[in-house]
């Protein structure tokens, strides 16, 4: 397994995965930074506001980004027509396992950056809201879980179609509908797994039309939502594994 992972890392050499992975986090954070974080009125809700804002940002940025990561990871094999060779060198399980492991490591970067970014915003803008490590941790795990779900799904599309249009096309569509879902009734939003950035949120918002001020309040952690995402993750991984095992080259 270690050898397979090493091979994956070698393939990633000169593929410039790192800039792409970091770029995703930077994009999300820059966008979050355009919220009026330094506004005195919002300091009391600082962290909640950042988490709330990031969930919207993630809904737009992450589905497409995950499609990009997944597609790049599999596309090296398509371009090199390498599957024929690899399937004779290593077990299909180890190839898939190595892809999943490296992919997961890449997926991990953006939520970590968001975590660090949220803390940094707190320092820079001097939020007066007390920091709730539990809420932050919850946000991290939920973002990671939804990201991983999308990544595995897109990886599966990439390997099923080889033509990378379906995977990326899906990424664009998911991003768009994910954003739309933010403005739709919650019952509808829950139907879209890629909209779970919002569904898993532990922060609620009320917008006062007259004063134009948003206030935030904590809501109990929707544990069921995280459970749904994790379960779906497992399903998609299993489906992907079946696909790799059955695929003829």
């Amino acid at each position: 397994m270690a050898v397979c992972l090493w091979a994956e890392l070698k393939k990633a050499h000169r593929r410039h995965d790192l800039p792409v992975v970091l770029g995703i986090g930077v994009l999300a954070l820059c966008w979050a930074n355009t919220m009026k974080l330094s506004d005195p009125a919002s300091l009391a809700y600082g962290y909640s506001m950042v988490l709330y804002g990031l969930s919207i940002v993630n809904a737009v940025v992450m589905p497409l980004s995950m499609a990009v990561l997944g597609s790049r990871l599999w596309d090296v094999e398509v371009r090199g027509s390498a599957c024929k060779l690899l399937y004779t060198l290593q077990s299909r399980g180890s190839l898939f396992g190595a892809k999943v492991a490296l992919g997961f490591a890449e997926v991990l970067v953006a939520p970590l950056m968001e975590l660090a970014g949220t803390l940094a915003f707190g320092r820079i803008y001097r939020f007066t809201e007390p920091l709730s490590p539990a809420a932050l941790g919850w946000f991290f795990f939920c973002t990671l879980a939804v990201n991983a779900l999308l990544f595995f799904f897109e990886l599966m599309l990439s390997l099923f179609f080889e033509n990378q249009v379906p995977a990326l096309g899906c990424g664009v569509l998911f991003s768009m509908t994910g954003l739309f879902a933010m403005f739709m009734p919650p019952a509808f939003t829950r139907l879209l797994p890629w909209a779970y950035y919002a569904v898993t949120l532990s922060v609620g918002m009320v917008y006062d039309e007259s004063t134009r001020i948003s206030t935030f309040y904590p809501i109990p952690y929707p544990v069921w939502a995280l459970a749904v995402v994790v379960a779906l993750c497992g399903l998609v991984l299993m489906a992907g594994w079946r696909l790799v095992r059955r695929k003829e080259v």
Binding site: V20, W31, L64, A67, V68, S71, R72, V165, M176, F180
Partner: protein, 245 residues
Amino acid sequence: MLRCCIAAENRKLRRALIWAVFLLLPLLAGVYGTVNYLQNLEILTPGWYNLWTQHTLFYSLFFFAPMTALYTAYLWRLEHLGHNWNLIMTVPVPRFDLYLGKFLVAWKMVLLTQLWVFALFVLFGKLWVGLPGWPPAEILFWAVRGTLGGAAVIALHLVISMLIRSFAAPILLALAGGVLGAYFANENLGLFWPYALMMSGMNSNRAEDLLDGRMGPFLLACLVWTLLAFAAGWLLLNRRDVRSE
């Protein structure tokens, strides 16, 4: 010559499935826009203009650019794979025609998509929302004007995807461009950022014509960005050795 190139590009796009994205994306945007419009009737001034905003705001702001980038990336991916650079560079066709052929094929797709957006808008407006009368003609004009902004995005991404052999990365760049575009448009600097031109042209974030009296600068901006991208592409095509794999 150019006609040959366009015909060749059209042939290459057979069985590519890529039109499905162009069909679905506006459709979903339209459905969402209409639902949102109906949900927010108490805040919005009812009418064709506000329905237009609801239909096209997010579409033109964030998702038009990635969708277009997907198209141009696919056009180049066909050449990046399978040693096809050797082929297209040894056929007796001016390199520029080849490049222009790709541009025109992509632009035609964008034009059709915009007309599809408008058709959906009219359809949903009449049959679903039941708006009285017909939409103002200027909205059709905006839809077509959006393709000029689209041209700048296409030209830019033709260069990017020619240069970056990765299929996926340029699409992420387009999303980043769109997000930045929202920022630029907000600061009234939309004309200085190619990804924001489309939204300005579509006039999708306000009911009154944003470009009223500023058509000249808008057209100039579209032209300048498109030409700059073309110049870059032209230089790269002529100065660089062909690498087929």
